[in-house]
Amino acid sequence: MSDIRNTAPRGEDYQPTPSVTGVDVEAGMGAGVLPAGPQPGEDASYSQGQLVWRRFVRHRAAMISIAILGVVIVLAFSSIGMGPIPGWWDKSYLATFDKIGTGSPTWTHPFGQDAIGKDFFAMTMRGTQRSIVIALVIGVVSTVIGTAIGAIAGYYRGWLDSILMRLTDVFIVIPLLVLAAVLGRTASEWGIWGLSLMLGLVTWTGLARLVRGEVLSLREREFVMAAQAVGTSPWRIIVKHILPNSVGVIIVNATLTISTAILLETSLSFLGYGVRPPDTSLGLLISLNQNAFSTRPWLFWWPGLLILTIALCVNFIGDGLRDAFDPRQTRNKD
């Protein structure tokens, strides 16, 4: 009892009010305290969100990944700048320079130069900017749409489910590449954001199916009935009770979508619908330079390394989130 009062910041102002319940607090505590081990957080009271956040922060791989991803993002956007804002790197990705030797990495051009002498560091940074925007926008848009449609269809069932699932079927039967190509032609006029938004709007189908399946089984669980019996609104049941329980599926799918998005953008660029030269993306850099792999490997390795780093970081962050939401995952790791 005294431990709780002394150490818990929020426990200090706790005053037992026996008038409400008639409970003898002191006796209740004395009788019930277990010899529990000294666990972090044992002394204070946390809400579900706080506990999830604490576990996420303690997930080492996820934290390191966030740091690395942060460095990559800062590097990409600060080096060559963005739009009208100039960066600290003095060479533009559009300008051509005199080739030094074969164009291999030098102090002037740390990532080397491409065939016509462009600064490859500037190009890679530009590509990273593009790829990160594409990957994250597609990841977020398709995950949000897929989760929302799947959850609504699964929870309400009936005609709403039929309509939403037939809509999903329509999206599934149209080949993604054709759809993306058609939309991409229009969307590429709106720039990179429009393109990624469009791709996000067509890649949510798989997740919607998976989430619907999860929700269909979860909604029959007794804890959902218990929540309904208390008077919980359907919206709150979906957001607070059902979705945290299907977060594993959602996150695995989201990380896969983000990796796929980078590749999808590459295919589109290759077909000439996505990012087009002189603008560039990581995928485009690799596909343009895959023939140079044996002769000028730096043209292949730098963008490849960055794609790998981004994909790995996203995966580890996803892992961390999933573990943070699932209380059974972390107990043995602590």
């Binding site: 209740g28 305290v33 204070a44 809400s47 804890f223």
Partner: protein, 598 residues
């Protein structure tokens, strides 16, 4: 069969010796968190025609012990000591030898017949499989034998049943099929792991009668694993009490149940709720003046089925729950008692009739009004593990109703949760724990705390203790009673256990097939029942006292005969021919003395 170690004279069982014996048995599970000693050196014998009951609470190692006899433990288990089944030593058998032994020498009756039977195979397929695998009968012969087995366990029209699937049979019939499968190859010993736990009391009594006739007519040894002291008193010749992997007490049923020596046995026995022994105090509140908290009038609930007429689960049910009163709703599975509970919570719609809660008809309300009414109703579900969101820490579980109804701020909610944890006698440190980190009893306490968060005027409790061990059940019930006395909520207590109802309820409503059979004050209904069905129910509930239970059993058989029903028993005809193993006459277990027909 050549791999069996029966040639060495030491392994030969002497005539009349145990058909199943454990000597100094130890079982250790290797896990990520070190070794878990599930069984710590126990010794136990089962002789032919004898029922040995292995009693203990969940986690005591009783099921693990029985699984060793079949060699069915998972790969991370290490077994020490000697297990003999007949004249075979289980530890020395290879996998082929083990397969020969299972079914032939030792068979198993599982707890849940629905999961023990394969849902996509017919009853006939499943029965003949064992016969064919062990070379007892093939083809038409096997089918005839299967039909005979079904007739033996008292299933009418066996030939038709053979072509049916498990879901087409009732729970009791399914368990009979499982028993028929167990006796198909005429094993010397049957292990019955909680054979009646999933069944209703009247069905339980029938299945126990059937198992008893098994030992009497076939001279089979039975190792009965159960936590139900009434079942022990009804069946067992000898009893072994297990606690945390050790046998703490053995003896005859009379010795253990009537003169327990070990403290744990005494504690177990005192925790068993008994009809008429520790009844609830009569209701002192004069309730006739007040308006009822829950008022069901001519309630009809129907489930709609695709392509079939709707199924009427509840038919014309009317009763009242007064403020401060506990009404027990008793009935067997399928009687509609849980359906009524769910309807009273507004979770399923009523076909006709009215469910009036504090003057409002919950089936007519929508949106805000429904939410406002639900604020005044608490609910405790049967399985606390299932009724709590596994991703919610305990603090959030209990605070959820406050958050839903937007009562108070974070600080006052936290204070209320801590108060409730105190009220249900749980440590406050549980605030940050997750449901899976708690034991079953602790979880059910959290469930009760959640139900009381909003200080409801009506509490609906749907079988709140049936998933718990007896001693845990006793403490949860005691807590429940004291909370009810303190908060004075009206309570609809749904249960199949008459003794639990007897401990708590002020009034009792007995349901059968969706209709009310009898209702009235507890003393009247449970102690002087007027209706035949109530008498049957009461007669079927076993009491943990062997002599008393024998008297009750005979009284029940007399009642059944009076009502024109048969007593369940093995139908063995005089010319019943025991199966023999083809071409294995020299080593097959054929102690002729046991085989009356030959």
């Amino acid at each position: 069969m050549t791999t069996l170690d029966i040639t060495s004279p030491g392994a030969q069982a002497a005539p009349g010796d145990a058909v199943l014996s454990f000597e100094d048995l130890t079982v250790t599970f290797g896990t990520d968190f070190g070794d878990v000693h599930a069984v710590k050196g126990i010794s136990l014998d089962v002789r032919p025609g004898e029922v040995v009951a292995l009693v203990g609470e969940s986690g005591s190692g009783k099921s693990v012990t029985s699984m060793t006899a079949l060699g069915l433990l998972p790969g991370n288990a290490r077994v020490g000591g000697t297990i003999r089944v007949g004249n075979k030593i289980v530890g020395r058998l290879d996998s082929r030898g083990l397969r020969e032994m299972r079914g032939n020498d030792v068979a198993m009756v599982f707890q849940e017949p629905m999961t023990a039977l394969n849902p996509v195979l017919t009853i006939g397929d499943q029965l003949t499989e064992g016969l064919q695998l062990h070379g007892i009968a093939y083809g038409k012969q096997a089918e005839a034998r299967a039909a005979e087995l079904l007739r033996m366990v008292g299933i009418p029209e066996p030939e038709r049943r053979l072509k049916q699937y498990p879901h087409e049979l009732s729970g009791g019939q399914r368990q009979r099929v499982v028993i028929a499968m167990a006796i198909a190859c005429d094993p010397k010993v049957i292990i019955a792991d909680e054979p009646t736990t999933a069944l209703d009391v009247t069905v339980q009594a029938d299945i126990l009668d059937l198992l008893r006739s098994l030992k009497e007519k076939l001279n089979t040894g039975i190792l009965l694993i159960t936590h139900n002291m009434g079942v022990v008193a009804d069946m067992a010749d000898r009893v072994a009490v297990m606690l945390q992997g050790d046998i703490v007490e053995t003896g005859t049923a009379d010795q253990v149940l009537n003169h327990p020596r070990h403290d744990y046995t005494k504690k177990l026995l005192s925790a068993v709720p008994r009809l008429g022994v520790n009844s609830a105090a009569p209701l002192t509140v004069d309730v006739s003046e007040e308006a009822p908290t829950l008022d069901l009038r001519n309630l009809v609930i129907e489930y709609h089925r695709l392509g079939k007429p709707p199924f009427r689960a509840v038919d014309d049910v009317s009763f009242k729950v007064m403020p401060g009163e506990i009404v027990g709703l008793v009935g067997e599975s399928g009687s509609g008692k849980s359906t009524i509970g769910k309807c009273a919570l507004g979770l399923i719609p009523a076909h006709s009739g009215a469910v009036s809660i504090m003057g409002h008809d919950i089936t007519q309300l929508k949106g805000k009004q429904l939410k406002a009414l639900r604020k005044r109703i608490g609910v405790v579900f049967q399985d606390p593990a299932a009724s709590m969101n596994p991703r919610f820490p305990i603090g959030s579980v209990i605070a959820e109703p406050l958050e839903v109804h937007k009562i108070g701020d974070d600080r006052s909610r936290r204070r209320r949760v801590l108060e409730l944890l105190d009220a249900v006698e749980l440590p406050r440190s549980f605030y940050n724990r997750y449901p899976h980190e708690l034991s079953g009893g602790q979880r059910q306490r959290v469930s009760v705390a959640r139900a009381l968060t909003l200080e409801p005027e009506l509490l609906v409790a749907d079988e709140p203790t049936s998933a718990l061990d007896v001693s845990v059940q006793a403490s949860v019930l005691a807590m429940f009673t004291s909370l009810q006395e303190r908060y004075k909520f009206a309570c609809l207590f749904v249960s199949h256990d008459l003794a639990v109802i007897d401990m708590l309820a002020h009034r009792v409503v007995v349901l059968q097939n969706g209709e009310i059979v009898e209702q009235g004050l507890r003393e009247d209904v449970l102690h002087e029942p007027r209706e035949e069905y109530t008498r049957r129910l009461l007669a079927a509930a076993p009491v943990p006292e062997p002599l008393e239970q024998r008297r009750r059993r005979e009284a029940r058989h007399a009642l059944l005969r009076e009502l024109g029903d048969d007593v369940a028993e093995l139908q063995v005809e005089d010319d019943y021919e025991r199966p023999t193993l083809r071409g294995q006459g020299n080593n097959g277990p054929t102690p002729g003395g046991l085989y009356g027909g030959q």
